[in-house]
Symmetry: C2
């Protein structure tokens, strides 16, 4: 029985830090464990340019000083994004552009309505080597079918621009995984909560607002497909937690926000999941290699030591109820080295 | 354009009044409009016998004194129910037995696990002419498939006991409607909220705890089938609101109760729905005839006058957020006669 493992320090390839007063604490929770995080740009106002990203990066860096953490910056792709913005953002160190269809999730009112009309922007991204991250859901479609409905856009673009790397963010369906398996330039980020939850956990018993997220957790079949993909060792599946803090008052209310705050428990929970499946040897690939490789950035040098040791997840982190609040997690982060 | 209609005073063939201090106000909200209500027995402790039902009926009658309202009483069918309990309950005036599968909704921990083993009880119900009301959902099955999964039990029993009348309560799927169409001894009660909501309204945008109910609202296709059934004039579809008050603190919280409180807005909302479909002439059949006929009780003598007149739904009724809270309803109850 394995009681301790040491893995390359992980990357969170999809994380929300928010901005303003609350940002530093959330950024530090991630930085305590992860070496890097791909920081989502859906702030108010959004991160739209390289300049915006540099300013946001400076604020994050000030917050995580001393933790050996590097924020990986993104800009938001909107209908106003131009090839010039892409080139300039790339020069400023932005490694990905995040596209939200209009109205599909938190702060996506300025999202994209005509995916295919952005081809010149996508071409510029391919030219400069910037990754396109897509919240792949069709607004206006039945909630359980939104992701599947959006995938033709991904297939169309993946075929059209074979040198554009595309990430289907927070994949929740077998159909999304199949697209990544079929196109070498498409990957899926997978969250921790989607490996554990189905729609049953949200609305199948009592209503569980802290399990409510976008995309909504799907069927038991879809979940088992996601689990298989994460455990498979296949290169185009990697961790992106979509860790998204919302104050408890925005979750337990008459009109609740979507998002699960997983940052402080994500890696430990993955250790449990991979151990349960007898695949602890593949944890590192999912958390620390496949993402970096797809983004064509160096793998991290530092390490994390995880030990089999019970700890109880706090009820809140600064007013935010985390995933698995009050539950006992059987793996703990023992040390973070470098 | 019709600005006023007078219909036979309606029956609510599925309603929750609760018990104790809160019951009188809820009972009166229903009694202000409806002539009768089939009162669900899932109290704590539950209504299990004719004696329990008589005591509960007396409490309700005290609450609705002067409103010309008759509570139609039910008992809860559990694995402890016997044919003797059925006969005795029938003699006490109980007209229906309500069966909940174990764990499927509010206060169903004592529900039935072995539906078919209750055949002697069902035979006694058929013998005395008591209706079997079923919360037709399979626990442990994916939430969107629970109703469809349970229907083989209904078909089995409907074939086995052709003289037992069975109601599939709060039908939410096309499949349930088809069972009622295929068996003359099976009917479906249909709620108001299931005519308007789909899963999208619960989890498709912001999380809406006040739209969270069991069975969960299904797909747009299922909803359109329910609407067609309600509007069809077919005899085995009738109103049962499943109006279920939960204090706001039990809805807007970390673990929310299932139920929509529709009693004060149900009839008015139905007038809107039937008018929009050009079927106002069929409203009375759905609300005031088909239920009584299936239960083999006389149709009501009294009348309700509905007028086209805007009114705003209150934000709360005694701490309970009603369906359509704060919205404007375009039909109002002008008068209740008799």
């Amino acid at each position: 029985m394995t009681n301790s493992i040491t893995i390359r320090r992980p990357d969170d390839m999809h994380v929300h830090f928010r901005d303003g007063d609350v940002m530093p604490a959330f950024a530090r929770e991630t930085a305590n464990i992860f070496a890097r995080g791909l920081v989502m740009p859906n702030l108010t106002p959004p991160v739209l340019t390289g300049e915006d990203a540099l300013a946001y990066k400076a604020r994050i860096n000030a917050a995580v000083d001393g933790l050996g953490f590097e924020p990986l910056m993104t800009i938001k792709i909107t209908s106003s994004t131009t090839p010039e913005i892409i080139k300039s953002a790339k020069a400023a160190g932005v490694i990905a552009g995040k596209l939200y269809p209009e109205g599909v999730t938190t702060n996506s009112e300025d999202g994209v309505t005509e995916f295919r009309s952005l081809l010149p922007v996508f071409e510029a991204m391919a030219d400069v080597g910037m990754v396109l991250c897509v919240h792949a859901e069709s607004p206006g479609v039945f909630v359980m079918e939104r992701e599947v409905d959006y995938l033709p856009n991904i297939r169309w673009l993946a075929l059209k621009l074979r040198n554009l790397r595309i990430v289907i963010e927070h994949a929740t369906t077998e159909a999304a995984l199949i697209v990544a398996r079929n196109f070498s330039n498409v990957a899926c980020s997978i969250t921790v909560h989607h490996l554990l939850l189905t729609l049953d956990d949200v609305v199948g018993g009592m209503l569980q607002p802290h399990y409510f997220c976008k995309p909504i957790a799907k069927t038991p079949f879809d979940r088992s497909c996601l689990l298989q993909a994460a455990l498979s060792g296949e290169k185009r599946f990697f961790l992106g937690t979509d860790s998204a803090p919302h104050h408890v008052s925005k979750k337990e209310c008459a009109s609740g926000c979507a998002g699960v705050y997983t940052a402080p428990v994500a890696l430990q929970t993955l250790a449990e999941i991979f151990e349960r499946a007898g695949k602890l040897d593949r944890l590192e690939a999912f958390t620390s290699e496949h993402g970096a490789d797809f983004y064509q950035i160096p793998r991290n040098i530092g390490q994390v030591v995880l030990t089999k040791s019970d700890w109880k997840v706090p009820a809140q982190y600064g007013g935010v109820v985390p995933f698995r609040a009050g539950q006992t997690v059987s793996w703990a982060v023992e040390a973070v080295i470098g």
